[in-house]
Structures are given as C-alpha cells and as structure tokens.
C-alpha cells in the first residue's frame, strides 16, 4: 500500500477543491448514533448531500473535549451497542459504496489503545479510512501511534487552537499530515462560535507556516456561518449541529423517526450550498467587509 500523499484521498480531494476554487464541507457524526443501521444509512448519504469529507466519531464513554450534544450522541451509540470494531465495519460498508470521499476517524485514545495501536491502524486502513484524529493525543504523546498510522498511509491529523502560540505551532505542524484541524474556539464542541474575521486571522497565520490544507471546526452551527468560514479556510467542519438534528428526529424512546436521514441530509445540503457559494465573486465581496 502506498503512502505517497498524492495517492491519498484527502490530498486528492483538497486538490480538486482547490481546482474548483472553493472550500470543502466536512461533516461529523458519531458512529452508531442513534443506532448502527441508521447511522450507516446516514453516513452513506452524506457525500450525495454535499459532504466533501466525512468524519466518523469513534465513540468514547468520557469525551472530555465534547459538549452536551456529542456526549448525548455517544451515549445513544453505546446504548445501541457500538464498538470500535463495529465502527470499522461501518467504514468498510461506506467504502464499498463510495471509493472517493475521504473518511476520517475521530475520537479519543483509550479505545484505540485497548484495541491495539498496530491492529487499529492496519484495520482502519484496510476498512478504507483515510485519516485519524485523536483528540487527547498531543504531539508530546503521539509517537506511539502517528508513525504507525502514516506508515499504513493513514493521515495523522493534528489540531491547532487559539492557544497555539508561535512557540507551539511548529510542534504541532511538524509531522502533521492530511490537513490541519483548526479548533476555532476556546472550549468544547457545540458551545460557542468564533467570528469569521478572527478565524481569518488565525488561518492566515497557519498558512504562513504550513502547506497543508486548513479545516476549521467547533462552533459552526448554521449555513451562513459555514459559508463565512468557507470564505477564509479550506474546509468547514460541522458536527454538533448535525448531531442535534439527529437528536431532534428521535421518538420518546430514543428510536430513529422515519424522516431522520432525510432531515439531516437536507441540512447538509443547505450547509454545502452555503460553502459552495462562499467564494462566488458576489459573496466574496460581502464576506471581505
């Protein structure tokens, strides 16, 4: 298996987006939320609805960086019987139906560590994953996973944050691959939103230090916000707002209502349109104010 960046789906996708002159939409859902079948059906529909890259959350019982929406999603998924192995089964099923859309696994370290680092990167790659984000594995600790991942051709995506100062950024950027995930707020997922002008400044600072594409996430909740971020970054990541849509389509017992997948993908389409329109000349002028 080749590990050349040019042959990787993420690099290919960002190259295509650049050629189209637009940013991408990255969607996040937790694997197995609200149940494994519905979650897989939704995952498969996301690219058709306009997701350029899909992130699939590997559920953990103690998600320290997540707000109430994603905490609740994880709880639903665990109740439905999700495991890391079943999450990788979902990846395999997604990949069988979609050869091109990059899929990134995102989660916390303990389930990976317990699964076994070598076994995880091998199985994740074989299932068709393209990258991995491990929220609680900073550069100081990732030597036990990152080289294994990149050797398998799995991009190891690192996070940069508003606290990443000039001393910190080189530590983060050295060894990162795939893209840089810029966490646009101080805080957990789904709680605050950053202004596009502040994000633009942060992205510009990152661009001076790295050639990697920059995706911005945490706090993008609406189509206009996604559009504003898409005007300044290479991709906009939407997670909690999608997960809240899932929660809004459950019956009193927590079971998926028939309209769930259509409703969530409808929201994704609206986000995708805003992202695609963000750099049309008429809009670009507005955003640059």
């Amino acid at each position: 298996m080749s590990a050349q960046p040019s042959e990787r789906r993420l690099a290919r996708r960002f190259a295509r987006l650049a050629a189209e002159g637009r940013a991408g939409l990255v969607t996040f859902v937790s694997a197995g939320d609200p149940d494994i079948d519905t979650s897989l059906a939704l995952l498969k529909r996301l690219p058709g609805a306009g997701a350029d890259i899909v992130e699939l959350g590997m559920v953990f019982s103690d998600p320290m960086a997540d707000g109430p929406a994603i905490q609740a999603a994880g709880k639903r998924a665990l109740k439905a019987g999700i495991t890391l192995k079943k999450t990788l089964d979902m990846v395999r099923a997604f990949r069988a139906a979609d050869a091109e859309t990059p899929l990134v696994l995102m989660g916390y370290y303990n389930p990976i560590y317990v699964y076994g680092n070598e076994r995880f990167v091998r199985d994740a790659r074989a299932a068709g994953a393209d990258g991995v984000i491990v929220v609680d594995l900073p550069p100081e600790e990732d030597a036990e996973l990152r080289p294994l991942a990149t050797a398998q051709g799995l991009d190891f995506i690192r996070l940069a944050t508003p606290t990443s100062d000039d001393a910190r950024l080189p530590v983060i950027l050295t060894g990162a691959s795939g893209f840089i995930y810029y966490v646009s707020i101080l805080g957990i997922t789904g709680t605050r939103s950053a202004g596009a002008d502040v994000v633009a400044g942060a992205v510009a600072r990152l661009r001076r230090l790295t050639q990697l594409p920059i995706a911005v996430g945490f706090g993008i909740r609406t189509a206009p916000q996604a559009g504003a971020i898409a005007a300044v970054a290479d991709a906009a990541v939407v997670g909690s707002a999608l997960v809240e849509r899932i929660a809004a389509n459950l019956d009193a017992d927590g079971r998926a209502l028939p309209a769930l997948v259509d409703d969530v993908t409808g929201f994704v389409s609206a986000l995708a349109k805003a992202v695609r329109d963000a750099r049309l000349p008429s809009r670009a002028a507005g955003v640059a104010e």
Partner: protein, 403 residues
C-alpha cells in the same frame, strides 16, 4: 530509560513513570499544562515560595500533624505496634489541604483569579473552597449528583465557604464525571482559570506536583518516628483512590528497602462482582484524564463505573506513580470491601475515640488483617487521612440506622 538506582526520582522530563503518566490532553490545554509545569518548576526552586507554604501549613493548616500511638488498637490486635498519622486533624479534616495550599500559592504566582476543582467525597472541594476563601479567589466546584446526595454536609460547607457548586449529571454522576466537566470548563477558560486537581493524577505535572505537596506527610512521619522509636517504621499503610495520601506517605520512604508499603484499594461489593473501585487489583492500563494508568474499562476501552461506599475512592483510575510502583513491585496493593471498611470504621471509633473517614477505614480494615500476625516490635504507620464526620449519614444508612 536510565538505570534505576532510586525509586523517588520520577517522573522523567515528559512526565512518565515508566509506561504511565504523560500528558494526554486536548491541544487547547497543552500550552497551559506546559505553563503550569514551568511555573511549578520555578516555584519549587524558590526559597520564598517554600517559606510562604511552610508558614501557611504551620499556622493555618496546623502542621505538623501528630503521630499517635494507637495503644488500644495495638492491644486489640495483639501484634504489631500501630501508629496513626493524624492527617484528619488538619484544618478541613483531611490531607487534601496540603496540596490545595501549595497549588493555590502557585495559581497566584501564575496570576490566575479563578479556581476550578472536581470533588468526590467533598473533602477536596471543601479544601479548595477554603483556600479560595482565604485568598479571596473565585471558586467553582464540580461534583457528581450522586456524590452531592451522599455527602450533604460537605456540600453545605463548600457553599458556606463561598464556592459555587456545579452538579454534574453526565455519566455515572460521580468523581470521574466531575473531572470531565472540570476539564471542559478549563478548555473554555484557559486564560483566567487554574485547575486545582485533588489527587496525584491527571496530566503531568499534576501527579508529581500533588505528590510533592503531599510528601510533607512522609517527611514528618520519618522525623517523628526517628524521634519516638529511633528507627524507621516497618510497614506503611494507606488507602488509595487517586492515591495522593498514599503517595504522600510513601514517597520519602521509597528508597528505604526495609520499609514495606501497602496501598489499599476499594473492593466495593467484592472484586469478583464487578462493582468495585480497585483499578490495580481489578483493572488494566489505559488512558483517561490526561494520564496512562490502571483503569476500570471494558474490552472496547469504554470506562466502566466504579463502586465504593466511600465517595473519595469511587473513581475508575489511580495515580500513575502507583501504577508504576505496582509494576516494579515496590508497593503492594490490597483491596478491602465496603463491609470490611464499615466494620473497621466502627472498630476505630470505639477503640480509639476517632471517627475515621470511610476512605482510611479501608486501610484500617487491612490493618486488621495483618497486624495480629506480626511481632510486637513490628511498627506500622497508617495514614488516617480524613475524619469521618462527613460519613455519618452514609454509615448510618449502610448500618440500617435512620437518623
């Protein structure tokens, strides 16, 4: 790793005790964790900091705490000579204040005005609220809803001290969930806030820093024992949840080969029931709350709920230095059930006129298992790390008494 010729030099520069410890936190927190480490390293080398800490430990906390010869308990078991290190006589009634005092002075050196903390039994919450009141700092305490219900007296004490109490209902609504919420708060408030962790766990430098502040316990025991008996103790006993009182007692003796050390975990309803809080005796290594250590988790790496009658031990992990000390065989780790702890709680009350907290009651129960079989010239020191006033409601309920 260099050749080990001491057990007390750890962790390495990255906060690792062998396989354990480290800094497994979200990137947002990394610069702050590194800043805490720099500030602590500087404070440790600053004689003024140590002088100020010593002043407050003496005049405010009431140190040194006595080393008390428990004569009636010694006679009762008819074996080893038993001493209590009376940490329950500290201001606020537990050892927790030792580390709170050190950390609050550090937080002020760092210019932080807002303090957050997690608490299980409420002892750390009370100690944190106390030092915040002392220095006029804003204080937010995260506490699991389950613990709030079983530790009502401490909840009220924290409020009297001016702390804002935030109930945590996520997960099992106990200590681990309170720690999750405190970490979430910290990520959102990195500029203003210092996270005052209550035990010798979490991301580096906390395990080493909390240990250093708690090591005053062992240093005093060494001096007191040399003065009293002219020699070192033979066995040290302490309960272990996160393990700060145990590491505080053990650390100064790690290189004294003649001193046996036993940490006592909470076996809850029994190790074979799955309802316990014994991370070493009933768990495996994993990564949670910023460090790699022994944890209670399932085959998929999901953290499982701990159970102990003692809220302060009801945590599915343990400080990383204990995990290392276990693996290298320097410290033994035993486990005591709820029932055994309750029996020891009552025995100590009747024999010595001291109501121990349910946490050290676990160590007292293990003492009962070993003391009678040891010779009379064998000296055991047990860390009586907290007083039991907070536990009278829990104990009454468990004993079928309506108050």
């Amino acid at each position: 790793m260099p050749q080990i010729n001491t057990y007390s030099a750890g962790p390495d520069e990255n906060g690792h005790f062998g396989l354990y410890g480290g800094r497994f936190v979200a990137e947002t927190l990394m610069p702050l964790i590194l800043e805490v480490e720099r500030a602590y390293t500087a404070a440790k080398a600053d004689a003024d900091f140590q002088r100020e800490l010593d002043y407050y430990l003496r005049d405010y906390v009431g140190r040194p705490s006595p080393l008390y010869f428990a004569e009636r308990m010694t006679k009762h078991f008819g074996g080893a000579k038993i001493y209590f290190k009376r940490e329950e006589l500290n201001h606020t009634g537990a050892h927790k204040i030792n580390s709170c005092m050190g950390q609050i002075l550090l937080a002020q050196r760092m210019g932080k005005k807002r303090i957050i903390a997690e608490t299980g039994a409420g002892q750390h919450g009370v100690a944190t609220a106390t030092v915040c009141a002392l220095f006029g700092l804003s204080c937010v305490i995260y506490m699991g809803q389950t613990d709030i219900e079983r530790q009502a007296p401490n909840v009220f004490r924290m409020k009297l001290l001016g702390a804002e109490l935030r109930p945590v209902t996520s997960g099992s609504a106990t200590l681990k969930d309170a720690m999750n919420e405190a970490l979430r708060d910290w990520v959102a408030n990195v500029d203003s806030t210092y996270y005052l962790i209550g035990t010798a766990a979490g991301p580096h430098p906390y395990p080493a820093m909390v240990r250093d502040f708690q090591s005053v316990i062992g240093r005093e025991v060494r001096a007191e024992m040399l003065e009293r008996e002219g020699r070192l103790p033979d066995t040290l006993l302490a309960c272990v949840g996160g393990g700060s009182n145990a590491i505080g007692l053990f650390h100064s003796f790690l290189d004294d080969a003649s001193v046996r050390m036993i940490g006592v975990e909470a076996a809850g309803h029994g190790l074979d029931t799955g309802q316990h809080a014994a991370s070493i005796n009933g768990g495996r290594p994993g990564v949670l709350h910023g460090n790699r250590t022994y944890l209670l988790h399932d085959e998929d790496g999901q953290i499982t709920e701990a159970h102990s009658i003692s809220a302060g031990l009801d945590y599915p992990g343990i400080g990383p230095e204990h995990s290392w000390l276990n693996d290298i065989g320097r410290v033994e780790y035993a486990a005591i059930t709820d029932r055994e702890a309750l029996d020891a709680f009552q025995l100590c009350s009747r024999l010595e006129g001291i109501l121990p907290a349910l946490e050290p009651a676990h160590a007292l129960a293990h003492l009962g298992k070993i003391a009678g079989r040891l010779p009379r010239d064998h000296i055991i020191v047990i860390n009586l790390c907290g007083r039991g006033d907070k536990d009278v409601f829990t104990a009454a309920r468990a004993l079928g008494v309506t108050l």
